[in-house]
């Protein structure tokens, strides 16, 4: 499945409404996978679009920018939720988790965030290492390292 939006050279960029309509469902799904929470995925996507919107006209590659924003927004969501969990345990809602039920899904959910981002972007969004590195703000070598560790961890789980 390809989630990235490409902007073919020479073709006019879409306006924001078109971009939003085209990307919204996939952005929500990516947000779900990164947060492992259905409702939060929608929130993350919404937040990401709201951040892209004011900059949209200046972006050469809004799809890539959206990806990065989703990754960062999901990370902030994790931060915030963890903070709420610690500070406001009664306020923190469980959310609607994604379909689980097998060892692999549990293992993916348990991965450190960056590792989870890498595997989601790689195997759901089909992004290249370079694109993932851009989204994470790190070097491709880091992506490779994260992916390697994530897969090793996941393989350990499913081999049990």
């Amino acid at each position: 499945m390809q989630i990235v939006t490409t902007e073919p050279a020479g073709e006019p960029l879409p306006d924001f409404d078109d971009f939003y309509r085209a990307e919204w469902p996939r952005a929500v799904r990516l947000g779900r996978l990164l947060t492992q929470d259905a409702a939060a995925g929608e929130d993350v996507a919404q937040e990401a679009f709201s951040r892209v919107y004011p900059r949209f006209d200046d972006l050469d590659a809004p799809g890539a920018y959206l990806h990065t924003t989703i990754v960062n927004t999901a990370r902030r969501w994790h931060r915030r939720r963890e903070g709420e969990r610690q500070r406001l345990p009664l306020l923190t809602t469980a959310g609607v988790t994604l379909p689980q039920g097998d060892d692999l899904s549990d293992a993916v959910a348990a991965l450190p965030y960056k590792q989870r981002v890498v595997v989601v972007l790689r195997y759901y969004a089909d992004l290249s290492e370079a694109e993932i590195a851009d989204a994470l703000g790190c070097r491709p070598g880091t992506v490779k390292s994260l992916a390697s560790r994530a897969l090793a961890q996941l393989e350990k789980v499913i081999e049990r």
Binding site: M1, R29, D43, S50, E82, P99, D102, G141, I158
Partner: protein, 534 residues
Amino acid sequence: MSTETPDIETQLRTLFDVQASGPVEDIAFDDVNVADVVSLDAARAKRRRWPVAVTAIATAAAVVAGVVVVRSNESEPQGVVATSWGYPIEAEPGVLQQYELAATPDGYTYNEPVTSGICTSWTVAEGAVACSQISGQTTVMYTRGDDTAISVTTLVDADGRFDELLAPLLEEGTPTLVNGKAAVIVTDEGAPELLSFSNMDIQGDFKQLTLMWSESESVAISVLYVGAADGAPSEDQFVALAESVRPFDPTDVRLALELRQTTVSLDDGSSFIDIIGVGGSSDEPCIMVSTMGAPCTPLTAAAGEPYALLADEYRFLPSYGIAAVGAVDPSIASVRVEGVGGEPVTTETAALPGQHRRFFVAPASETFLPQLLVFLDADSNEVARYTFPENTATATGTSPQGSWALTVDAPDGVESRAVLETNPIGGTTATAEWSSIDNPIDDTEPLFLLEAGGPILGVTIDRVTRVEYEGRSLELEHSTGAAATNAFVVTDDPDEDGGSSGRLTGYDAAGAVVFDVEVRFDSDQFLEYEPATP
């Protein structure tokens, strides 16, 4: 017959396709005014066409109440309320309305509005949240018990604008929004003073300012997230969070300029997460410790004295650290630091309206030990001085409410530590402790930090060229933070083996250890590196 197990990559693709396959509600972007999206919770309300104005969350040890007050940017104003649980309630614009919600097996139900008026303050105590109305009436809104009854309140004016509703209600001592920007009117002996703030960013999502009201042995804190209300980017939109812990007298106002969350340890061995605020009104700075179950005390230092060494401003320094020094005497124009082992660097980081200045003091050399702070006026005349004991800086003070002592030291020469002890008269001694590794992340000024439950760490020591976690080298990347030349952040994940703790060691180019500390991680933590954009 045998079946072949797909490889891990194939299994992942299948898993993600399944997990992502749920229906996605088609929401037209036109229905969402992104400029009004102020938070994730608010965004959810917003895209459901619940225009959002303010989120109020009141908390206490055993109480949590959440209210999202909403406004409309649409031609037809709407007053709609959503709780923190995402439960929407239709509300009549222009008036405060309270609804009683009751838990049912199917969720919450609510009754017709039971009261109306204007909620001017929030109070949380003893398992209840109260809304003080402008009439002076206080209504218990929320209790948490077996029956879990909840009430929520709206504050939406006839035009659906929160600030326009509040503005005429704002009198001395209450927060206001001026031209859509953060502002507050502080009353101090009858002389209102307008202060405005920006970039008071605590949790990375909102601009924030803090108000503190105090009376003798109680304190209430209201936190107001503020920002532009005129169509600026979403993160500048305002969300208000009102949090108070005791009844308070709103005419006795302290303005907190800093806010820190920390762990407060009590004499009985228990501890709780709490907020420490440091600030003051025009000529009376104070340090306050809010409480969620413990006494708290406004603390006052004399004008001209460094009122605090704030962990919030603390820098990780190899040998010793000096935090921001607050000077409240308006005549103070600069601070000179004297010490041994090198030259310090002193920078005035903020000259806030009123009579408060902050000076950031940092040694230019890792061997520098500060010994004396000298406060100077514009003509370089000495106004006041403060002496640091060797390796330890202790500031003490008294107030009608009690005494306090703030000690900052670097016992191991690596990790700076600050301990604030408060001794309220008739109350219980409380100690708050934090260290250089407790600072919140700041991607423009990366700090060496460890924050439980969130992003983990950045390394800013300019001498550090290599960092190891449990003997394994971590990747360092140069930061482009404007104030962080030669700063690094760790972008690798030290927790690859799922360990919960380990030693983090930093080395300089010559291989000498710059720091060596024990760090902890929990299951969902990760290393944070905030890129410049987006």
